[in-house]
Symmetry: C2
């Protein structure tokens, strides 16, 4: 085995152990944890802003924001009144479970209903790293083009949900939604695909309903199955 592959295997094994510890802690707290993954500029932070505004008052929320540099995204979410912590990865192209655990330890967030983990903007590297989340969310903006699921199959195959963002830009770009649906259906037949626009509000209700139903299912379906 080459040294590169050997090191990578050990890194992923260490990550999986830490992720299992995180998952157990999130389960004990009844916190739904979502790991948002996309290209830079697909609208992860904007979707979170819209989500937080929509669910504020009904659910408690917090966010961990992964980036190479700047506190900008955490600042945007703190401005909405939720606890948010910026994790700077020191150049790494993805979050890992150790960074998430260290971030949570440092912030001492209160126990929340929903914890959003916004990964570093990257469609490739975050894919293999379990963060203890309940689901990975793959975002794809209409401006990025309709060929991306087959070009980046790893994340679209592993995502629990695929969210198309910036639906409001669709009239101004070349984006064949049915082509995207077909690619996602091939890679990941179980994953719901939601079409959203944080600008117009399209699809935001369905997205928030999905989060709430997953939270309720995690907690034993108390409200999902009355």
């Amino acid at each position: 085995m080459s040294p590169t592959i050997d090191v990578r295997r050990r890194v992923l094994e260490d990550n999986d152990r830490e992720a299992a510890r995180l998952r157990a802690a999130f389960a004990a707290d009844g916190t739904l944890v979502v790991n948002l993954i996309s290209s830079p500029g697909s609208g992860k932070t904007t979707l979170l802003e819209t989500t937080i505004r929509t669910l504020a008052g009904r659910f408690t929320m917090a966010a961990l924001e992964g980036d190479i540099a700047t506190e900008r995204d955490a600042d945007r979410l703190r401005a909405l009144g939720i606890p948010a912590h910026q994790i700077l990865t020191g150049g790494s192209c993805h979050l890992d479970a150790r960074l998430v655990a260290a971030g949570l330890e440092r912030t001492a967030f209160p126990k929340v209903d929903l914890l959003f983990i916004e990964n570093v903007g990257n469609l490739i590297c975050p894919t293999a790293y379990d963060l203890g989340e309940d689901m990975k969310i793959a975002l794809l903006s209409t401006a990025e083009g309709d060929d991306k699921p087959f070009k980046y199959p790893g994340i679209f195959a592993r995502a629990g949900v695929v969210v198309i963002t910036k639906a409001d830009l669709a009239p101004h770009v070349v984006f064949d939604l049915e082509a995207v649906r077909a690619q996602v259906a091939t890679l990941n037949p179980e994953a719901p695909l939601l079409v959203t626009s944080s600008r117009t509000g399209e699809g935001i209700g369905a997205w928030c309903d999905l989060l709430v139903s997953r939270l309720e299912a995690k907690r034993g379906g108390s409200r999902a199955c009355p």
Copy 2:
């Protein structure tokens, strides 16, 4: 030194040796080589299509297309009549000099004036890998937002040229061009910043002129300094 850092150092040293060999070969051929780097969906292939259409008949061109999966981008450029080879990285988030050398060996491209290397869609991983190019080009589409240079400083600091793409979308998105200019000026004061739209043709002449003048400068300024 940790095993991860040690392996990474050795990988980059090996890469730099191979890149130096490539650079010497490109110099001997008088080929200008540009390494295009951006997020997925910023419009690298579309800019290349427009460039190839603009320069066809005046210069010979070829392209190496880096992707995780699909032959799609090479197919798009071959349709324009230039030799193009798809390099599938086997899951890796960037091209490296060895992949470029192997791709060139396999294709036996004719000697060309301009060789375009389109990296894997990723603003982070390709940054550290020298491919023997004359310059790295960082592309940023208006749809990605105006906060990206400071969030991904590595590539914007190392780019020889920054190309803003999809200027036609600017009226439909939040994008403060002056904010981007200020960030790029801080990170990389020498780098020209060009604003382009492959759809309207805005800035394509300036971009192609820049390529031609860099080619002439590399060949001894025969036409650039008459």
